[in-house]
């Protein structure tokens, strides 16, 4: 990535400065997405102005629990991640792969290239930046990678508001970003009684160009120290951790661990964890026809390895037992993902804990699985 001179000069943006950034991104033809309040949760939606940010809203999260909480400081990014993740925008839940028309006794494939949207993602948390990188690796590992789409403009906001479900510090994916993070802008929110600003650093030429259009003042040494302190405090506030990579990978060798049966007693096999996970990529490929049978189309739709259909071959599902499905999800996520893609599939965002209706805590399950296999698991968490 090209670093402009601007990249070395962090600046402070206030609300007007942030507004200018959003305006410039739109002027460049981007559709700008970011965190926004949607009902009783913070999701990702189009940002038309700073007013669309969930200013003054934080959240309270625990396994199986999510509540919005008002904040008295008006912070724009004073929340942890919600159920929504950026993969919804980059690999939509339903996508038509191709269409065909009936043609006598056969069919004819109709090619309809879609116009790709150029996206700007504003407010990407470091954990989600890591997830974007992992999804790119998954696509790149295919012998038929998807057609290249314009790389989204990415403005990361370092995390100052981790939830109780967050554990990115232990996976190394947050709450701050490294200097070599693949982002265009890196922002850190500073909010106190006297001011409400973002420390902004450009990490690419286009990031620098966008930043240069905003009214800003140079950031001082104290401002930079304050930004570092935001990240340090966020890391210190995290109460959960994932065991290290070697330990995680060892669960692939423990398919008979008693903990699998234990967690299978609690898991509802609903698939929520896979749908909120920012790195899950399984899709079901389904064919459809119109009522007259004149047109058929193939759709890729987000799938979950918790469905019986996911492992169905003639005669039945390979993972017909819930134990086998939970084991597949967790083993893949934190262990075999390494073999397949050279990275973990878990970025410590905590979504699968929060949105599990049975309050299953991935970190607790992995910890139990890497503990002595002879130890019989206890009841585990209850909501």
């Amino acid at each position: 990535m090209v670093r402009s001179r601007h990249a070395d000069r962090p600046v402070l943006l206030d609300g007007l400065g942030l507004e200018a950034i959003l305006g410039e991104l739109r002027r460049l033809g981007h559709t700008v997405y970011g965190p926004t309040r949607r009902g009783a949760a913070i999701g990702l939606g189009e940002l038309r102005s700073v007013a669309d940010l969930p200013a003054g809203w934080g959240d309270e999260q625990a396994p199986g629990r999510y509540r919005l909480r008002p904040r008295d400081d008006g912070a724009w990014f004073g929340h942890a991640v919600g159920a929504d993740s950026w993969r919804r925008l980059l690999t939509p839940p339903r996508e038509v792969l191709w269409r065909a028309r009936r043609d006598g006794r056969g069919f004819e494939v109709v090619d309809e290239p879609a116009e790709p949207e150029t996206l700007a993602l504003v407010g990407v948390r470091p954990c989600d930046l890591a997830a974007l990188r992992i999804q790119q690796r998954v696509v790149a590992a295919s012998p038929e990678p998807a057609p290249s789409t314009p790389r989204p403009f990415v403005a990361v906001v370092e995390c100052g508001a981790p939830a109780a479900t967050c554990f990115c510090a232990s996976t190394g994916d947050g709450p701050g970003v490294d200097d070599d993070a693949d982002a265009d802008l890196v922002l850190t929110e500073l909010v106190d009684a006297d001011r409400h600003v973002l420390v902004a650093r450009a990490r690419s030429a286009r990031g620098a160009a966008v930043l240069a259009t905003a009214p800003a003042e140079p950031a001082s040494r104290d401002d930079l120290d304050a930004a570092v302190e935001v990240v340090r405090a966020a890391a210190g506030a995290q109460v959960r951790r994932l065991p290290d990579a070697d330990a995680c990978r060892s669960i692939a060798d423990r398919p008979d661990h008693p903990r699998w049966a234990d967690v299978a007693q609690r898991c509802l096999s609903c698939g929520s964890c896979t749908l909120v996970c920012p790195t899950c990529f399984c899709v079901v490929v389904a064919d459809h026809t119109d009522l007259a049978g004149e047109e058929a189309w193939r759709e890729a739709r987000w799938d979950t390895c918790f469905s019986l259909d996911h492992s169905f071959i003639h005669g039945g599902s390979i993972r017909h037992e819930l134990l086998a499905r939970y084991r597949q999800w967790l083993t893949h996520k934190v262990a075999t993902w390494w073999d397949q893609f050279g990275t973990s599939g878990c970025v410590g965002c905590g979504r699968c804990l929060t949105w599990c209706p049975a309050a299953i805590d991935l970190t607790e399950e992995v910890a139990a699985l890497v503990a002595d296999g002879a130890t019989t698991a206890t009841g585990g968490a209850s909501p």
Binding site: L97, W98, V138, C305, S311, H320, E321, T336
Partner: protein, 274 residues
């Protein structure tokens, strides 16, 4: 849309029923053909408006541009495919995956072990062994099926064995009137054949339990695990390591397989539901 994700149109030019629920079809492209296929690779066959299933190539070396598939009617899509008639059009994507690669075993004795419809993915290997007969040592083919009616292409195999001088043995699990051959599992046949384990390579295809049992038996006989290859079956939907549905442990069967050796397989088939 990348090339192997959109079906090529093929016309059915030959159709042969091979039992109550099995058919072999020959197809030729209407326009562009898919790329050249290797023994053991698979294609995705699409029945218009019904869906798509992975089917191993039954024949890859026949006339140019002519492909052969044997399909058993076990579900909605395969039912539609078995019901195809000469002149119908079917979608074909592929070829996908890693095949048997018999050429790497040239100079060695070859053991082929087939269970049920598992004989079909092995046909391209059998054809290659005949075409390149003097590049290989002794040939042994063991075929097992549930009942005599489930045996596919045994007459064709017998002709092949007569030409190649192969030791062909066939057993059924449940005999029927008129069956005079051995009764038992394909692993029972294995116990009876002489093998020179240090110079023997094996290609095994059949139900998972059969492949796991055969693999264990071959290792016990002293074959090297890297010389024993099996063809895995999972529900491939994309063929290009994207849909995630064909995972078996660390493997994506559509790309890392379907053919893997016992070193790559490890103990993956030893635990149910993996």
């Amino acid at each position: 849309m990348t090339a192997r994700l959109v079906p090529h149109r093929y016309r059915v030019v030959g159709h042969r029923a091979c039992g109550p629920d099995v058919a072999t079809i020959d197809v030729r492209p209407l326009e562009a053909a898919i790329g050249p296929a290797e023994p053991g690779q698979f294609a995705m066959l699409w029945a218009y408006g019904v869906g798509e299933v992975p089917i191993s190539f039954r024949g890859v070396d026949a006339q140019p541009r002519r492909l052969r598939f044997t399909i058993r009617d076990v579900g909605e899509v395969s039912h539609a495919l078995v019901g195809l008639r000469t002149g119908d059009v079917v979608g074909v994507r592929g070829p996908f995956g890693r095949g048997w690669r018999p050429e790497t075993e040239a100079g060695r004795d070859v053991l082929v072990v087939a269970g049920g419809i598992g004989v079909c993915p092995l046909w391209p290997v059998v054809s290659r062994l005949r075409a390149d007969r003097n590049r290989y040592g002794r040939l042994v083919v063991l075929v097992g099926a549930r009942t005599p009616a489930d045996l596919l292409d045994v007459d064709e195999l017998r002709r092949w064995a007569a030409i190649t001088g192969a030791d062909l043995r066939v057993a059924v699990d449940r005999p029927a009137p008129g069956w005079h051959g051995p009764v038992g599992l394909v692993t029972d046949l294995l116990d009876e054949v002489d093998l020179h384990p240090e110079i023997t390579s094996a290609f095994v295809c059949g139900p998972e339990v059969m492949m796991a049992a055969t693999g264990r038996a071959l290792l016990a006989r002293g074959l090297a695990p890297e010389r024993v290859r099996v063809s895995l079956e999972r529900n491939m939907a994309c063929g290009v390591r994207r849909c995630g549905r064909c995972q078996l442990g660390r493997l994506f069967v559509c790309v890392d397989g379907p053919v893997v050796d016992l070193v790559e397989l490890g103990d993956l088939l030893e635990v149910a539901g993996r």
